[in-house]
């Protein structure tokens, strides 16, 4: 005889059906014994009112035991039947019934592998997101840099435009040419100076050797 632990029923009812039945059995039995004791006590008391009678308390005790034994036998048989019906029809959850709190297990019957695959996918997505986020940061940083550089370059351009305007205002378009002439000349001067320096170095060397 295999014992059905009725764990699923216990999950639903909050108690094990067998435990409930046992509690009830003990309670009923206690009442039966209690009532019998009361009966006996009452009878004995009534007998006290009949001082002449020949009935001894011992006889009464025997009667009580007889009746109680008989009752107990029937009580056990009847209770056993009742327990069977209750455990099968009332305090049970049919095999095809799923408790609402367990619905997820029917909706998402994932195997170990499927579950692992899902976890892996999530991890991959997290990595991809992190990569995108740092790429985004790098792009933003460059954008900021570009703004600064653009601002500088535009300033320089404005300065040039400013120069052009000055020339135009003062009607010296030649200013540009003469400035260009000057820079060229100063470049030429620099070249000449360099030449002279080199030549004088050479002369000094010659002097030393001599």
């Amino acid at each position: 005889m295999s014992v059905n632990p009725m764990a699923y029923e216990a999950q639903f009812f909050g108690f094990t059906p067998q435990t409930c039945m046992l509690r009830v059995y003990i309670a009923f039995q206690d009442y039966l014994f209690e009532m019998m004791l009361v009966v006996e006590t009452v009878i004995l008391k009534k007998l006290d009112g009949f001082p002449g009678c020949k009935i001894s308390p011992c006889q009464i005790r025997k009667s009580t035991e007889k009746f109680l034994l008989f009752m107990k036998e029937h009580f056990d048989k009847l209770f056993s039947k009742m327990e069977e019906v209750l455990l099968q029809l009332v305090l049970n959850i049919p095999e095809n019934v799923l408790l609402p709190e367990d619905k997820v297990h029917e909706q998402y019957p994932y195997t170990k592998e499927e579950f692992q695959a899902l976890q892996d996918e999530i991890q991959q997505l997290q990595q991809q997101y992190r990569a995108e986020a740092s790429a985004g940061q790098a792009l933003q940083a460059e954008l900021e840099e570009q703004k600064a550089v653009q601002a500088e370059l535009e300033k320089i351009l404005q300065w040039f435009d400013g120069l052009d305007n000055i020339c135009r205002e003062h009607g010296t378009s030649n200013f540009k040419e003469s400035f260009a002439f000057l820079t060229q000349n100063s470049k030429k001067l620099q070249d000449v100076l360099k030449d002279v320096e080199e030549k004088s170095k050479k002369i000094k060397k010659h002097d030393q050797l001599l």
């Binding site: 639903f12 009812f13 009442y31 009532m35 009746f67 009332v90 095999e95 997820v104 997505l125 040039f160």
Partner: protein, 169 residues
Amino acid sequence: SGSDGDPSVPAALGRAQVFAAVVDTFLEKLVTAGSYQRFANCYRCFYKLQPEMTRSIYDQFVSQLQTSIKEEIQEVKDEGNLEVLFNSLDKMVEEAKDHKEPAWRPSGIPEEDVRSAMVPYLLKHRSYLRKVLKEKEEENRKVAESVLAGRDRIAELQQLIQARKLAWQ
């Protein structure tokens, strides 16, 4: 409960009714077994002495026993909130009547069982990640476009400056 099924199946009645009926039957049969004849027979000497008293004592015994048993049953029902549970279980049974295969039961291994419970959260998390990833990719695409445009602009400015420089030399 008025189901359209078999009238002969006792489970067509609600569990609460079956419970009450079964307890009543138990009491009835017990009292029948412990009949007055049986009682008087056991307490024969007293019965001979005081038949009326015997009857009265027996009646009280039966009545008190029934009351105590019924009270105990009511206590069990109240403590366990059984009335509500029975009705709700009846409803679940009714709703599952087209579901022929055995339903899921806890495997006894918590790691196995908790998997399915976690799946809905993981699925939510996955769809959230997909969404924000897509948004981030889109955002980056736009910023990348701006960066490229910015580089072109800088190159353009540099060219303009170079041109001006040349003009002044």
